[in-house]
């Protein structure tokens, strides 16, 4: 069993990064995730594991440092928050195109624009539907606890290398800032063997390695795209993760991800005490999205209430999942406001149930 500690989400993420055998971190400070680079700078993992920590001159530089170091087959990670993640989008698209494994954490804050430093889930579309240019997907993991901030780092590196694809950990400012008990996994040694595709210096008698997303001939570019799409289909088939509670007798489903899912869970518990048969679906991956778990329940449901800390983004995927076979409604708060369980249940009783009659 690993160490048990009381830790802030951002610091737990940083500690998990070191323990996962990460080779290099490149980042730029931005609230509400600056604790990550502060923790790493304080710990100096170079002394113990040899991990490099470098503060870049911008998020643009940080993501391109990730491209370079990740292209050498190393385990690399960066973290940022919404406006910083926006700046990284060009680089993320290049990374997806050149198929460089890496992990990017977005500790989501409120937008648009400079917005607010308070927690938000406004970057769901950006994370799951592209964000940068071109046809590509990130694998997107959505932790809803400090424990998952730890566990998902290790998982993210595994998935990144399994598929040679960038992986995003999409959390929000509250998960990053709150303190919870966590169990930390044992130190994973840093890799000593680098993958064959990595640019590490041409080997005697072998072809040189080229990492690029540039294919000027349309026939060739289409082939690359088809290969990427095939990879995404495999990811969709193999890597869907979700949690369900009380769905066997459920007439209603509360759903959400990350912090919103935790609040939904409490709202479900209060609702159950009042006699409402409510279940919970919490995606742990939002790309790939667990469409089937919703689709398989539609025949017995009176409706799904989707709760998010945005204007309604994941709800579009829930609606796609149920194909109009059950009612899907949305309740959300924006601008850094966090809905309370009572508020959700109040909406459920006064608006949602009535709307169905």
């Amino acid at each position: 069993m690993g160490d048990i500690k009381l830790m802030k989400g951002n610091e737990a993420l940083a500690e998990a990064m070191i323990r996962a055998g990460c080779d290099a971190y490149f980042g730029y400070p931005i609230t509400p995730q600056s604790e990550v680079i502060e923790y790493l700078s304080r710990e100096v993992p170079l002394r113990n594991t040899g991990m490099i920590v470098l503060q870049a001159e911008s998020e643009v530089a940080a993501i391109n440092m990730l491209y370079g170091a990740g292209g050498c087959g190393k385990k690399v990670m960066t973290t940022s928050s919404s406006p910083g993640i926006s700046l990284m989008q060009e680089g993320i698209s290049y990374i997806a195109g050149a198929e460089i494994p890496c992990v990017i954490a977005n500790i989501n804050r409120g937008g648009p624009g400079l917005g607010t430093i308070q927690p938000s889930q406004g970057d769901y579309f950006q994370a799951t539907k592209g964000g940068g240019h071109g046809d590509y997907h990130l694998i997107v993991l959505v932790p809803s606890s400090v424990q998952e901030m730890v566990d998902f780092v290790k998982l993210a590196f595994d998935l990144a290398f399994k598929y040679r694809n960038p992986v995003m950990i999409l959390a929000d400012g509250a998960i990053g800032q709150m303190m919870e008990k966590v169990e930390l996994f044992e130190q994973v040694p840093r890799a000593t063997v680098l993958p064959d595709w990595a640019t590490t210096g041409k080997r005697e008698g072998e072809e040189r390695r080229i990492l690029t997303s540039l294919f000027i001939q349309p026939e060739e570019m289409e082939k690359v795209n088809l290969r990427l799409q095939e990879k995404y289909r495999q990811i969709e088939k193999n890597e869907v993760m979700f949690e369900v509670q009380n769905i066997d007798d459920a007439e209603y489903i509360f759903t959400g991800y990350g912090l919103a899912a935790r609040i939904c869970k409490k709202a479900m518990e209060i609702g159950r005490e009042k006699g409402y048969k409510i279940g919970l679906i919490r995606p742990k991956t939002v790309y790939p999205f667990p469409y089937n778990v919703y689709a398989n329940l539609t025949h017995k449901l009176k409706g799904i209430l989707d709760v998010e800390m945005n204007a309604g983004q994941m709800v579009e995927d829930v609606r796609l999942a149920v194909e109009g076979k059950t009612r899907v409604e949305f309740y959300g708060r924006m601008g850094g406001m966090i809905p309370s369980p009572d508020e959700i249940l109040d909406y459920f009783e006064k608006q949602f149930i009535k709307g169905g009659e």
């Binding site: 870049a56 370079g68 170091a69 190393k74 050149a98 080229i210 540039l214």
Partner: protein, 266 residues
Amino acid sequence: MTEIKEAIEEFAIPEIRVDECLVYKKPSTLTDVPLHYCPGCGHGVVHKIFMEVIEEMGLQNKTIGVAPVGCSVFAYHYMDVDMQEAAHGRACAVATGIKRVLPDRIVFTYQGDGDLAAIGTAETIHACNRGENFLIIFINNAVYGMTSGQMAPTTLEGMQTTTSPYGRDVKTQGYPLKISDLVAHLPGTAYVTRQSVHKPANVRKAKKAFQKAIEYQLQGLGTCLVEIVSNCPSNWKMTPLESNKFIEEKMITFYSLGDIKVPEGK
């Protein structure tokens, strides 16, 4: 070699004399792919002399290059070393990532003026300021070549381009940027030099500069930047010879050649 063999057959040169006939060949560190550069362009010469240095120093298997957006984005088609293509302007950040995780490799970027001195200014200056231990090869031809002839940060005062068709007006479009002089002021840079390849003597000097820069990188002295004042006959709307004359009369009178900064005691 195929061309040489064909010539041998055509002119019935006895096979035994092939080695005697071969007074010039391209380095083994360049591929057989024909260059896509325009006739008279300096890129081909720079590719050749730099890869000769890599061959002569026995570093082919230790070298990793970065080719960002610009005419030379396809440098990886020609240079027979491991390479990464980079986004426009980000070569120095990509090279930082590579060198930090593989510090015993020889790392270089190959960038144009728009890439290095406009969109990538921040990455260039900060890599130099951190003293990142790699080589920046900077091709300055005072114009955006790949996008066919727009004004570059290094375009000379009064010089015509498609976005300064009446000549660069420094009052509204800014002054030509001597970025090599700028980064030479930073403590992180070890060696900053400005060379050209428009005459054989200059080609030899430029090659020496590359040799020194790689030696300094092996010694871990800090960032080295070799600027090559080059030409762009196609976008300058000149013949190759006229473009070389323009280098001589206009370019190097403003971008003066020679070492700007050398490591202490060198």
